[in-house]
C-alpha cells in the first residue's frame, strides 16, 4: 500500500465526503452508461428547439382564432405530436430526471442558479 498521510475524519465529515463522492460517481455512471456531455447537450438542445418552434406555431395559430373550435384545431398538431410522449411518461415507461430529483429541488436550482448568473452578469456591466 502507498504512504498516504491518512487522517481518519469524523463520521460527520466522512458522510459529507461520501455524499460528494456519490454525486461524482453518479455523473461518471451517466457519462459511461448514458451519453457523454456533448450528446446530452444535443438532446437538451433538441428539446428546447422542439418546444420553441412548436410553441411559436401554436401562438401564431391561436393569435388568429375567433371560435372555440378554432382553438381546438390550433392545439391539435402539438397534441398529436406529443401525445405518445406524455402517454409514455404517464405509464412510467419514460422517466424524467426532473421528476426523479424532486420538483422542489429542481425549481430551487432554476431560481437560484438563474439569479446567481444574472447577478454576476449585471455586476460585471
Amino acid at each position: 500500500m502507498t504512504d498516504f498521510n491518512e487522517q481518519i475524519p469524523t463520521k460527520e465529515v466522512f458522510l459529507q465526503k461520501q455524499q460528494e463522492n456519490n454525486k461524482l460517481v453518479a455523473r461518471g455512471e451517466i457519462s459511461i452508461n448514458v451519453a457523454d456531455t456533448p450528446s446530452l447537450l444535443g438532446t437538451t438542445s433538441d428539446s428546447i428547439h422542439l418546444v420553441l418552434f412548436e410553441l411559436a406555431k401554436l401562438c401564431e395559430s391561436l393569435n388568429k382564432v375567433t371560435t372555440l373550435a378554432e382553438v381546438r384545431s390550433s392545439a391539435k398538431p402539438l397534441t398529436d405530436l406529443l401525445s405518445g410522449f406524455s402517454a409514455k411518461v404517464n405509464r412510467r415507461e419514460v422517466k424524467l430526471p426532473y421528476q426523479a430529483k424532486g420538483i422542489d429541488q429542481v425549481i430551487f436550482d432554476i431560481e437560484n442558479r438563474a439569479t446567481s448568473v444574472a447577478k454576476i452578469l449585471t455586476d460585471n456591466n
Partner: protein, 225 residues
C-alpha cells in the same frame, strides 16, 4: 665547480618535475573529457528514457466499486475479478512494453474502512478494500490476466487511502499470447485486514466502497519496472 654541478642537477630535477606535472595534467584532461562524455551520454539516456512514453488517456470519470460492479473471484472471496476500467475516452488503446515501468495517474484513489465507526470499533467489518492495476490485452479475461501475473511471480502493489487527492501509482503489464495487442487498464478490488490477526473478509460485503478517477496511464518502454 660544485656549485655549477648543483645548478645542473637542479635544472634536471626541475625539468623532470615539469615533465611529471605535464603528464599528470594531460592524464587529468583526458579523464575529465571521458567523464564529460559519460555524463552527457547518461543525461541523454536519462532524458530519452523519461521522455519516451506510451500514454493512454482516460476521462477522469469517478468510479466506485459499486458502479464498476465487478464479479467476485470464484477462487478467493477477498478479491474481485479483473475488469476493464470503463471510459468515454477515445485514446485508451496502447501497446505497452511488458516488464517496464508503468504509472497510473489518478485524481482520486479513495479507500476507507467503515468498521472504524462501529461500536465497538471494527467489531463487524475489519477490512479495507484497495485497488490494483494491470495493463492487459483489450479482450483478456480475468483468468488469463491472473495466469500471466502468476508467471511474472512478483509483488503486486495495491492502492487507496483515506485521503482525497491526486496520486501516481504502479501498474503491471501483461500480454496474453495470441490476442490482439491493443491494451488497456484493468482493475480489481482486494480486501486487506485492518485489525491484525483477524480473518480476511469478502471484498463485496466488507471494506467499504472505494472510489477512483484515472486521467492517464503511462508506460516507459526504456525503463525497467
Amino acid at each position: 665547480m660544485a656549485l655549477e654541478q648543483d645548478i645542473a642537477e637542479l635544472v634536471t630535477a626541475s625539468n623532470n618535475l615539469t615533465q611529471v606535472v605535464d603528464d599528470k595534467v594531460q592524464l587529468i584532461d583526458s579523464k575529465v573529457t571521458n567523464a564529460e562524455t559519460k555524463i552527457n551520454s547518461a543525461i541523454l539516456n536519462f532524458a530519452n528514457s523519461h521522455s519516451s512514453q506510451i500514454i493512454s488517456y482516460y476521462d477522469n470519470a469517478r468510479h466506485s466499486q459499486t458502479s464498476i460492479n465487478p464479479e467476485i473471484d470464484p477462487l478467493d472471496e477477498t478479491k474481485t475479478k479483473w475488469k476493464a476500467l470503463p471510459t468515454t475516452g477515445t485514446a485508451v488503446h496502447m501497446y505497452p512494453s511488458v516488464g517496464q515501468l508503468t504509472k497510473v495517474h489518478s485524481t482520486n484513489c479513495y479507500s476507507y474502512h467503515p468498521g472504524h465507526y462501529e461500536d465497538p470499533k471494527h467489531s463487524n467489518d475489519h477490512s479495507c478494500t484497495y485497488v490494483q492495476f494491470v495493463l492487459a490485452n483489450d479482450s483478456a479475461t480475468s483468468e488469463q490476466i491472473n495466469t500471466q501475473l502468476a508467471l511474472q511471480n512478483s509483488n503486486h502493489a495495491y492502492y487507496g487511502g483515506w485521503w482525497d487527492g491526486t496520486g501516481v501509482f504502479d501498474a503491471k503489464v501483461i500480454r496474453v499470447p495470441g490476442q490482439h495487442p491493443y491494451s488497456r487498464l484493468f482493475i480489481r478490488y482486494i480486501n486487506r485486514v485492518i485489525v491484525e490477526g483477524k480473518a480476511p473478509q469478502n471484498v463485496i460485503n466488507f471494506g467499504g466502497n472505494p472510489t477512483l478517477s484515472v486521467t492517464k496511464v503511462i508506460n516507459y518502454p526504456h525503463i525497467k519496472a
